[in-house]
Symmetry: C2
Subunit: 356 residues, 2 copies
């Protein structure tokens, strides 16, 4: 995606090329994937003017050849950056100023990199990449819509079957099975947090009986490498009037904050709105209001207290207020949203309190 | 694990404390988890003499309190290292020499870190941590045994049901469902590579009909945070004499290389042995022979051409020779092994060529 636009940025920043790497098959480099569609081990070099190329180890060569990058080299040297250096030299690319993504570059990789590019200056390109990826292309919007559709369908099937599950793990396993069966990946390990476990926003489901009370289900799939993200909180048993009241308060706030979204609005402003509306429950809201969604499950924009981001066309992000009462319960309601002239909610599963 | 041993290392390296962080809930910091059992967002500070402590954001505070670290602080400042700096100062801990893990520290995190610890010197502790984790404690060995048992059972159940699967994705979904149902995690996304897809060692299963011929199944679970890793290659249809021949050659080599393992043997020596035995197929073996297994799926020791590692007591690692014929097929046979005076194969699923 947006390779030309990125090369213009390199030109403006006076960088001869940018380099991205993934050394570990279990950790996708989001920018490398963004520019190539390749999720394996390797190095991507994007010169400011010439065609970009990939360097992949022999074992990954066939996969790399299937990426959107036409020029693929097999890693010839023992070390990643040694190979990169030799191929860059062969291609007569200058090495005076090199753009690197300092969010995805470890200190030890940098040491190896500097051994090869001793005299080069490096410039951080992390923010520029995040910004590029923050505003989706039409193709990405299509993929994200579909990713959200899949998440909706799987979540609804799971909720419909809810009475057949005994443990939190069974719910998680079912979500995952339905995801994998369709050839999709999870965006993240699903959160199934029943009863008092729901008070931990990042709780990991356990092989324990589902507790009565609220049950937070936070789930998303990856379709063609793009994440969706949705949370619904259902109720096992019979909610009290007070519990219903808190749920409906949160739901109203979630819906109102979605309605607030407009072009150029400050993300921190939407966050503030939610805090104010929560009134006495303000301190029970212990995380950000939302985050961009794309190749990574957390990307730009950030809808948090201190964010300086603003909503722009073609941003896809979550709105997910929650309230947590330690050792008691938690409630979170989350949708993935597209802004494009107006707000479009991409996750469509009902938000009425479902009682099982 | 091994916190005292680690504090002795800090003493020897003349470091006042070590600091580990995780900023992203989807990426476990293996050392932070090793020392704490905590897998969430936060910072771990291990002073060379005093009690270690965790700093966690408010939303993760309850989870952090359940870790093995008794002293847990709630993050009070906006930025991670700002909080860490203020708490370290309050605890009157010197900040002259700080140990950091440069394999798990990005350039941008380092920038934020240095803003707080301007005058401090940093020393890399990555290798020391890998070495500590490379030799498992009794407790870890127990957990790894169990992790391998689970992987065996789930894999065997999957193979038994193999005829009911139509697509690669269905096999992957079944493996994952059985894993999650037991409250376990995957070590990595399973590889189900049928027919010509098997020639890509890191192939990702697709929602396509399972092809005839060899089918590589590479799978592992995480039990209590510890990985297992096993690969079996089965055959769909009727193998030719030549195919049987290659399979049995590889199997013989895999078994012989396991028998070779003894105390203090060079890992590169075992790799060389396999290459020699492969004869004319040597160039079809395109990856390392094995890797340590623990909290991470790839850790010390490395069984590769250039490795300087040697096998020591209480190491747990894989032996996984493979041969790959581009656009034709691939075969890999992998076990997770414990060395403790003698070799013990922890993954016990049959390696006779199974024909479906």
């Amino acid at each position: 995606m947006k390779l030309n636009e990125f090369q213009n940025i390199l030109e403006k920043k006076n960088c001869d090329f940018a380099v991205f790497y993934t050394a570990d098959s279990s950790r996708i480099n989001p920018n490398l994937f963004y520019f190539t569609g390749y999720s394996g081990i390797g190095i991507l070099v994007v010169p400011k003017k010439h065609r970009p190329f990939l360097i992949a180890p022999q074992m990954e060569f066939q996969r790399a050849k299937k990426s959107s990058i036409k020029k693929v080299y097999s890693m010839e040297k023992k070390r990643f950056f040694e190979s990169a250096h030799s191929i860059i030299k062969k291609n007569s690319i200058k090495t005076k100023n090199i753009a690197i993504d300092k969010n995805n570059f470890t200190l030890n990789s940098y040491k190896h990199f500097k051994r090869q590019f001793k005299k080069s200056k490096t410039k951080d390109i992390a923010l520029e990449c995040l910004k590029l990826r923050g505003r989706k292309t039409e193709k990405e919007v299509q993929i994200l819509r579909k990713s959200c559709n899949y998440a909706d369908n799987i979540l609804q099937k799971t909720i419909k079957n809810f009475e057949s599950f005994k443990t939190e793990s069974e719910v998680s396993a079912f979500l995952e099975y339905e995801t994998k069966k369709l050839g999709l990946e999870l965006s993240f390990n699903p959160i199934i947090a029943s009863g008092s476990n729901g008070s931990m926003p990042h709780y990991e489901p356990k092989n324990i009986k589902i507790k009565n009370g609220f049950c937070v289900i936070d789930f998303g799939v990856k379709y063609k490498g793009y994440c969706s993200d949705i949370t619904r909180t259902i109720y096992i048993g019979k909610p009290s009037q007070k519990e219903r009241g808190i749920y409906n308060l949160l739901l109203g706030i979630q819906e109102d904050s979605i309605k607030m979204v407009k072009n150029n609005i400050k993300c921190s402003g939407i966050y503030d709105f939610v805090c104010n509306k929560l009134g006495k429950y303000k301190n029970n809201f212990t995380h950000g209001l939302g985050h961009g969604v794309g190749i990574e499950i957390h990307e730009m924009p950030n809808l948090t207290l201190n964010s300086t981001d603003r909503i722009k066309d073609n941003m896809v992000f979550t709105i997910e207020p929650g309230v947590y009462f330690p050792n008691k319960f938690g409630i979170r309601i989350e949708d993935t949203i597209l802004f494009k002239g107006r707000v479009k909610v991409l996750t469509r599963t009902s938000k009425h309190l479902l009682i099982v």
